[in-house]
C-alpha cells in the first residue's frame, strides 16, 4: 500500500469524521462504492492495455527496452526534469519571499504577473521562445549591432529546460509563499536575539520550515516535466513523451507501450523516493504563540536588484510570449488557406472542457465521499487507484485508450466520449483532491444533526454537506476546466475526425509555419485560461 499511498497526496483528517459512514444505511454506502468501483474500472482500462501492449512486444520489447537509444531517452528525461526543477526552485523561492515577506513595491502585482505564466500552455511558450531566442530570432536581431550574426540553436535541451522552468515555477511559488506567510515569527525573533543575521535567520530558521512546501512544489514540478509533451515536442528534445508520440504516430503501439510503461515506472520511482524522503520532523507550532502581524523586511539597497529580478521573470514568463504572439498577429506571416472561425474554436474548446469538467466532478464525487467519510481498507484502495492520473501522462492515457478502442470498442474510437474519458482519467485526481478537502473541512455533526431531525442520509448530504462544500467542488471543476482547455497530446490523439480546439489548431498551424494562425487562438486561449485561473486563485485567497 505504500506505493499507492505515495501516489496520492495525504490529507490528515480528524478521526471522528469517519464514524459517519458507519451510520449510513448499508444500501447508500454500497451505492457510493458501486459508482466508485465503476469509475475506478474505467481508470484501470488504460493501465491494463498498456501492460498488455508491452507484453505483446515480447522479446523484441525487451531488446527495445535495453538498447542504448532507449537508455538515452531515460537520461534525457531525467536530466531535463532535474535541471528544470532545480532552476524553477532557484527562481521560485526568492520570488515567493520577495512577494510575501519584503517591502518590495507592488508586491501583489508582481505576484499576479508571475503566476500568470501558468495560463500559458508549455507548447505556446515554447513556440514563442523559438521565435525570440532562435539563431536568427528577435534577440539576435537586437544583438546584431554588436556583431552577433547568429545565436546557437535554442532547440534541444536548452530550450526545453528554459520553457519548463518558466511554466512550472509558479507551482513552487504557490506552496512556498503560503508557507512563508504562516511561518512562526517568534522563532525568527528568537534566532535574531541569539545573534543570527538576516541570512542566518533565513537559512537556519525559515528554510527548514519551508521544506514540506518546497518538496511538494518541487515534486509537482518534476511530475509536470516528466509528463509534459508540448515543450519537448516543439523544442525537438527527445524525452519520453516525444519518443512515445513518434512511435504512436507510426502506429508501433508495442514499442510505444514499452516506452510508456517505462515512463510510468520512472514516475512511480520518483514518488516513492519522495515519500521516503519526507521529513518526519515537526513543522507546526506547538504553543499558541503570540499572534502578530508579519513584519516586512526592508530591502534597502537590494530594492533595485529585486525589482530587476521580478521584472525579468515576468518578462520571460508572460511578456515575451505575448509580444511574440502579437508580433505574429499583426506582422506579415504566411496566410493559412484554411481559415477556422474563432467562434467555432471557442465553441469546441470551451464545450469539451466544460463537459469534461462536469463529468470529472461527478465521477469524483462518490470517491471523494468515500475518501473523506469512509476510511475502510477497500475504500482507500479505490481512491488510490483513482489517483492513477497523477502518474499517467496524457500521452500515455491516449495511447492506451487508442489500443483499447481499436481492439475492443471500435464504436467509440475517434468520438467525443473517448476523448472525455481520456481527460477524466488524467484529471480525476484534481477533482477528488479539491472535493475531498472540502468535505473534510465540514464538521460531520451538521450532517448528524440533520439526520437526527429526520432527513434521509442522501437528503442530508444534498442539503447540508454539498452546499457547504460547494466552493471546493467548484474550484476543482474550474481547475479541471483550465487544464483540459490547455491539454495537447490527449486531444491530438483521441479527438474525433475534424474536431478542432485551440490546442490542436495552434499545434497544426505551427507545424506549417502559419504563424498568424498560431497567434489568434493562442491569445484567445490565454484570455479564457486567465479568467478560469482568476476564479481558482480567488477561491484560494478566500480559504487562506
Amino acid at each position: 500500500m505504500q506505493l499507492a499511498d505515495a501516489i496520492r497526496p495525504r490529507l490528515r483528517i480528524n478521526g471522528h469524521h469517519h464514524r459517519v459512514l458507519a451510520r449510513w444505511q448499508v444500501g447508500n454506502r454500497q451505492l457510493a462504492q458501486a459508482v466508485s468501483l465503476a469509475v475506478v474500472a474505467v481508470v484501470m482500462i488504460p493501465i491494463a492495455y498498456l501492460v498488455l501492449g508491452a507484453v505483446s512486444a515480447g522479446q523484441e520489447g525487451i531488446d527495445y527496452l535495453i538498447r542504448a537509444r532507449t537508455l538515452r531517452i531515460v537520461g534525457n528525461s531525467i536530466s531535463l526534469m532535474t535541471a528544470a526543477t532545480l532552476l524553477a526552485t532557484l527562481i521560485a523561492v526568492p520570488f515567493a519571499w520577495l512577494t510575501s515577506r519584503s517591502d518590495l513595491p507592488w508586491r501583489r502585482a508582481w505576484l499576479a504577473l508571475g503566476l500568470a505564466a501558468m495560463v500559458i500552455p508549455s507548447y505556446l511558450t515554447a513556440v514563442t521562445y523559438t521565435e525570440a531566442f532562435g539563431p536568427k530570432g528577435v534577440l539576435q536581431s537586437l544583438l546584431e549591432p554588436f556583431g552577433v550574426d547568429r545565436l546557437p540553436p535554442i532547440k534541444g535541451f536548452a530550450g526545453a529546460t528554459l520553457t519548463l522552468t518558466v511554466v512550472t515555477f509558479p507551482y513552487i511559488v504557490l506552496p512556498v509563499r503560503a508557507a512563508l506567510l504562516h511561518c512562526d515569527r517568534s522563532l525568527e525573533e528568537a534566532g535574531q536575539s541569539l545573534g543570527l543575521n538576516r541570512w542566518g535567520v533565513f537559512r537556519q530558521i525559515i528554510l527548514p520550515q519551508l521544506r514540506p512546501a518546497l518538496s511538494a512544489g518541487m515534486l509537482m514540478t518534476a511530475l509536470y516535466c516528466l509528463s509534459d509533451f508540448g515543450a519537448v515536442a516543439v523544442m525537438h528534445f527527445n524525452a519520453f513523451t516525444r519518443a512515445i508520440f513518434i512511435q504512436t504516430e507510426s502506429y508501433r503501439m508495442d514499442k510505444a507501450s514499452v516506452l510508456a510503461l517505462l515512463l510510468v515506472g520512472m514516475t512511480l520511482v520518483l514518488l516513492l523516493l519522495h515519500s521516503r524522503m519526507q521529513i518526519r520532523g515537526r513543522h507546526y507550532r506547538v504553543g499558541v504563540g503570540a499572534s502578530r502581524h508579519l513584519e516586512l523586511l526592508p530591502l534597502g539597497r537590494w530594492k533595485a536588484p529585486a525589482l530587476i529580478f521580478c521584472a525579468s521573470i515576468v518578462f520571460l514568463g508572460v511578456v515575451i510570449p505575448l509580444l511574440v504572439l502579437f508580433k505574429w498577429l499583426l506582422g506579415h506571416t504566411l496566410t493559412n488557406p484554411i481559415q477556422v472561425p474563432l467562434n467555432l474554436l471557442i465553441h469546441n474548446t470551451v464545450g469539451v472542457s466544460a463537459v469534461s469538467a462536469l463529468v470529472v466532478t461527478l465521477a469524483a464525487f462518490p470517491l471523494a465521499l468515500l475518501a473523506a467519510r469512509g476510511a475502510t481498507r477497500f475504500n482507500r484502495w479505490l481512491v488510490n487507484v483513482a489517483y492513477a492520473g497523477n502518474v499517467l501522462p496524457g500521452i500515455v492515457i491516449a495511447l492506451a485508450l487508442v489500443m483499447f478502442a481499436t481492439q475492443n470498442m471500435l464504436s467509440i474510437y475517434q468520438t467525443l466520449p473517448l476523448l472525455i474519458i481520456g481527460y477524466a482519467i488524467r484529471y480525476l485526481p484534481f477533482s477528488i483532491g479539491a472535493t475531498e478537502s472540502a468535505f473534510a473541512q465540514i464538521n460531520p455533526r451538521y450532517e448528524e444533526a440533520a439526520r437526527s431531525l429526520g432527513l434521509s442520509p442522501w437528503a442530508a448530504l444534498a442539503r447540508i454537506t454539498v452546499p457547504l462544500a460547494r466552493g471546493g467542488i467548484l474550484a476543482g471543476l474550474a481547475l479541471v476546466f483550465l487544464n483540459v482547455m490547455k491539454e495537447l497530446p490527449t486531444t491530438l490523439i483521441l479527438r474525433p475526425i475534424g474536431f478542432r480546439t485551440f490546442a490542436t489548431r495552434i499545434w497544426s498551424a505551427y507545424d506549417e509555419a502559419f504563424l498568424s494562425s498560431v497567434a489568434l487562438p493562442g491569445l484567445a486561449l490565454i484570455l479564457v485560461s486567465a479568467f478560469a485561473l482568476a476564479i481558482i486563485l480567488r477561491r484560494e485567497e478566500a480559504i487562506s
Binding site: 504516430e249 493559412n336 464545450g351 466544460a354 481499436t406 474550484a475 474550474a478 475526425i497 509555419a513
Partner: protein
C-alpha cells in the same frame, strides 16, 4: 463574477456542445488524408459543394495515416486514402487493402509512371524534391551550390542545412536511396548529415521560413512550398536548386489517392477520385498549390522546369513501399532525437 454564475455558464456551454454538435450520418464519405489540410482541404470542400457528397476528413502525416489504416485493417472507417507520396500507397497495395480503379480513371493520368502498375492507386499531382536556398546566405558563407545531396555532409555545410526527417516526402526520398544505393550507404548518409549538425524541422514550410530568415542556408524540401511564400511577398530572394545528373535529391514523386477495399461507399469514393483528376481539381493543384498537374489538359502555372526536363533518378514509385523499414532506419540514425 461569482462562482455560481461561472458554473451556470459552463453548464450552458456544455449543453450547447452536445445539442448543437452535428450528428454524423452514415452516408458521410470518410477520407484519411496524409496531405496537409492547407494543401488539399480547399479542393475537398469544393468537391462537397459541387457534388453534394459530405466528407469527414482525418488529417495526419502520410506515414502515420498509412500505418493507422494498416492497423485498423478491415475495420477502418476510411473510404479514400490520400497520400503525399507513392510509397505509402504502395505499402497499402502490398497489404492488398486497395480497390482496383476503373481503367477510365487511370487513363486520365498522362504519364504511367505516376499510377500503380496494378491500377490500385493513381497519382494526383507531381512534385520534385529540391534544395531551397537563399543566395545571400550562400555568398555570406562562401558556399557553392551542391551537386549532390552527398555534398551536404561536407564540413563547409556544418549546421547550415535544414530537413524534416519525419515528413513523408523525405521518408520516400530515403526509401529511394535505400533502393538505389543500398542500406549501408543510406545509413551512412543519414549519419553524416546528423554529424554535420543538420537542423530538424517538423515539416517543409518551416524549412522554407528558416531559409528566408537566414537560420539555415538551405534545406531539402518539395518544390512547391516556396511559391506560397513568393505569392505573398515577391521580394523574397530564396530560390530553388534542382540537383543535376539524376541525383537522389531531385526525386520526382506524386501525391496520390486510392479507394479502400473495405469501403461501404465505393461510388462516392470513386466520384472523389475522379473529381481530383478533373480539370477543375488539376487546375487547383497547378495554380493554388503550385504542383505539377498530371493530366495532359492542364499546364503548370509557375515558372518551373518541365517535369520531363528534371534529371530525376530512375526508379519505380511502387518500389518505395517499405515505409516501416525506412522509418526504422531514420529512427535508428538518431535523426528524430
Amino acid at each position: 463574477m461569482s462562482i455560481q454564475r461561472l458554473a451556470s455558464l459552463l453548464l450552458a456551454a456544455a449543453l450547447c456542445c452536445f445539442v448543437v454538435a452535428p450528428a454524423l450520418g452514415d452516408d458521410v464519405l470518410t477520407v484519411y488524408s496524409g496531405r496537409n489540410e492547407s494543401l488539399i482541404g480547399p479542393i475537398l470542400a469544393q468537391f462537397t459543394e459541387d457534388t453534394g457528397i459530405e466528407t469527414e476528413i482525418l488529417y495526419g502525416g502520410t506515414s502515420a495515416v498509412a500505418n493507422q489504416i494498416l492497423t485498423e485493417g478491415e475495420n477502418s472507417p476510411a473510404d479514400v486514402f490520400i497520400a503525399q507520396d507513392g510509397g505509402a500507397l504502395g505499402a497499402l497495395a502490398a497489404a492488398d487493402m486497395l480497390h482496383k480503379l476503373p481503367a477510365a480513371t487511370i487513363a486520365r493520368v498522362a504519364n504511367e509512371a505516376f499510377v500503380s502498375p496494378d491500377g490500385v492507386w493513381t497519382g494526383l499531382s507531381g512534385r520534385a524534391r529540391v534544395f531551397v536556398y537563399s543566395p545571400e546566405s550562400l555568398d555570406e558563407h562562401g558556399l557553392e551550390l551542391p551537386n549532390s545531396i552527398h555534398d551536404l555532409t561536407g564540413e563547409e555545410w556544418r549546421g547550415l542545412v535544414g530537413w524534416a526527417p519525419a515528413n513523408a516526402s523525405f521518408v520516400s526520398n530515403v526509401t529511394a536511396m535505400r533502393v538505389l544505393l543500398g542500406e549501408e550507404e543510406t545509413a551512412a548518409w543519414l549519419a553524416g548529415m546528423i554529424a554535420n549538425g543538420v537542423q530538424a524541422y517538423p515539416k517543409n514550410t518551416p524549412i522554407v521560413q528558416a531559409t528566408i530568415d537566414g537560420e539555415v542556408v538551405g534545406g531539402l524540401v518539395n518544390h512547391y512550398y516556396l511559391f506560397r511564400f513568393l505569392a505573398e511577398d515577391p521580394d523574397i530572394t530564396a530560390t530553388l536548386h534542382f540537383f543535376p545528373a539524376g541525383d537522389l535529391g531531385s526525386l520526382i514523386n506524386a501525391a496520390g489517392a486510392a479507394i479502400l477495399k473495405s469501403t461501404d461507399q465505393p461510388y462516392d469514393a470513386l466520384a472523389l477520385v475522379d473529381y481530383l483528376l478533373s480539370d477543375t481539381a488539376q487546375a487547383y493543384f497547378a495554380q493554388t498549390t503550385y504542383e505539377y498537374p498530371l493530366v495532359a489538359s492542364v499546364e503548370p502555372s509557375v515558372d518551373l522546369p518541365a517535369l520531363a526536363d528534371i534529371e530525376t533518378p530512375e526508379i519505380d514509385l511502387s518500389d518505395l513501399a517499405d515505409l516501416q523499414g525506412t522509418l526504422t532506419m531514420i529512427e535508428e540514425s538518431g535523426a528524430l532525437d
